[in-house]
Subunit: 366 residues, 2 copies
């Protein structure tokens, strides 16, 4: 495990302007860093987290006690080598691990709940850039992310082109598809259908919309795995029994696994944050932000890009990465692209795929 | 619209034996017929319905008023030609359109609710065969079905091989995969998480678990459509507005469509039936019923088979149909197989795919 400095919080010195037209006052960003910042501040790598991720990139999660979510990638001698690089990972605004979000106190000292402004991925990136300003880091060695982290990496490249020399976007997309939106809408409806949601005002109550959030997580979790991966991992195998029960218990291992994923998630994540962050992802369309043409979004970039997709990822399939690569080509940006073969579906970027390690290390050190 | 005789009900003369070990007493089967039965009773075609289907194959649905679910396929001069064939369609046991299911009164005159026995697809077929017995139809000209209807067609062929001369199974599978089970489990958990579900005992109350059932339907509905079909139909287009609302209304057309699908469904379907029928589908594995080898299931068959899959169906992809075809080949059964190209995903079997019409007509009349 990499040695982490204790989780820090950066109070933004000015209100954060948002795409929705409001500004978020008194916001703060919780972050972790790993490795030493060079005297010239030229060795910083920003890693952006996914929908339900957080700043505990390579250090134990304070709630679950589990290892950091990318321990296998980040640490001394690892592909993102903390002996060489100063690695920063910050909780996005709207989330619930220390950065300002719907559970945070608003101006009236009560939790924002649904009075929190709807944010976008670009707003998250504005928060991250404000943090970099505070840290005095003018230009990153690289910005790196998978899934929603990749969206942030691409958004940073499009909107703050001078802030990163390298952009590594893994298992991601430049826009949410109708199917992506549809799955998120199922999750939101599951949360909002839970009477314990109380229009978002559940913080002062003993109960939170855990049942709805759990269903939302279960639905989403299926999209993170490949059909073949599920078959290999679970197939039709029964859970701790010899025969079907002819009841509604979790007879099948895959049922038991999904229930566990759902209930475990509610212990570490805020339902309102799930609403806000899925909304931000559904709104995500870099081309739309830049006059409708994706290539135009990257016209001002001087960064080198690397896109990585996985052949079994049906959430953000290879075609989405290729779409970005074509736009970068049209914009004249240097870009490399690789589709990796891995059985785990979208979650491959988090799992043991040695080919990904080599691509990441090669791109960052090259 | 084909002219339908009024919906009839057949009271089973004996308790229906079930795979779970119980027997269902005093069960009845609601059905519709179209076209005249020949004097030799040799022109009967049984059409089996899908998860949320019913006996209103080619006549208006009494709740929604909408045309029958396969009007385009069944009627005078249509591919399943009611000028030639006597077409029977019955509501499966466990459902809620007149056949005995969880909403029906049990022996104590109260609704069964969750005291209804867990059933299997083979149990549904036992009910259908009992109906055929009652109608005096010893051997069908054909049994036909798509999705869960195709499962019933295959199950009838495997378990009652003398009862059908032709078996036409469309967009289906011989077993539910881990991913299939996972999506159904999300739906069941959504229903059971709804406080209005009340452990299934909601019939005497003013409210039913509509919110949970609606979420279940939304999740399932995504699996019925292809990603490309969703993109073509909705893309990222907004619903009745010029710009994003920066709120949680249904900004996108696909959100509005899904909500409509969910809420409309609750008006015509019973939540407990949804639990029981999805369970039956998840239990479905014809090979397991026959010693573990699918070919053995069809060893006694004298029927001709036709399997049809759709290239964009990711719920029951072509590989599942091919798996059945290989088993039928191994069993020495005559089988034809076609993968059709259609943009609509799993729902293609219900929609305007002229190539399907030709395959159906050719197989039935050949």
């Amino acid at each position: 495990m990499a040695t982490a400095t204790p989780s820090r919080s950066y109070a933004l010195p000015a209100p954060l302007p948002l795409d929705g037209g409001q500004a978020l006052a008194d916001a703060s960003i919780a972050y972790e860093t790993y490795g030493e910042l060079a005297a010239d501040k030229g060795n910083a790598i920003l890693v952006c987290h996914a929908l339900t991720g957080d700043q505990y990139l390579a250090s134990a999660h304070p709630v679950t006690g589990k290892p950091g979510w990318w321990e296998r990638m980040v640490g001394p001698g690892k592909p993102i080598d903390t002996d060489r690089y100063h690695v920063i990972c910050a909780n996005v605004i709207g989330s619930c691990m220390g950065s300002t979000g719907p559970a945070s106190a608003g101006p009236d000292c009560q939790p924002y709940a649904m009075r929190f402004p709807v944010i976008t991925v670009r707003d998250m990136v504005r928060g991250l850039v404000a943090l970099l300003d505070g840290l005095g880091i003018a230009r990153l060695h690289a910005v790196v992310g998978g899934s929603m982290g990749g969206m942030q990496a691409l958004s940073l490249a499009a909107n703050f082109p001078e802030r990163a020399a390298r952009v590594l976007a893994i298992a991601t997309t430049a826009r949410h598809s109708a199917q992506n939106i549809a799955f998120h809408e199922v999750g939101r409806q599951a949360i909002m259908a839970d009477p314990d949601w109380r229009e978002g005002d559940y913080y002062a109550h003993d109960t939170a919309p855990d049942a709805g959030l759990s269903v939302a997580r279960m639905a989403a979790h299926i999209t993170y795995l490949s059909e073949a991966g599920l078959t290999e991992k679970f197939g039709r195998r029964l859970q701790d029994r010899e025969a079907k029960s002819f009841g509604f218990d979790a007879d099948f291992q895959v049922e038991s696994y999904l229930r566990y994923q759902g209930s475990g998630f509610t212990r570490r994540f805020d339902a309102n944050s799930y609403l806000y962050i899925t909304r931000a992802m559904d709104y995500f369309d870099i081309a739309e932000e830049h006059g409708g043409k994706l290539a135009d979004a990257f016209a001002g970039s001087s960064a080198r890009f690397c896109l990585v997709s996985f052949d079994t990822d049906w959430l953000y399939p290879t075609a989405e990465s290729r779409h970005v690569v074509h736009a970068l080509n049209a914009a004249g940006a240097p870009v490399s692209f690789v589709e990796l073969s891995a059985p785990y579906g979208h979650d491959s970027f988090l799992l043991d795929v040695p080919a990904l390690d080599r691509v990441v290390q090669g791109f960052l050190d090259g």
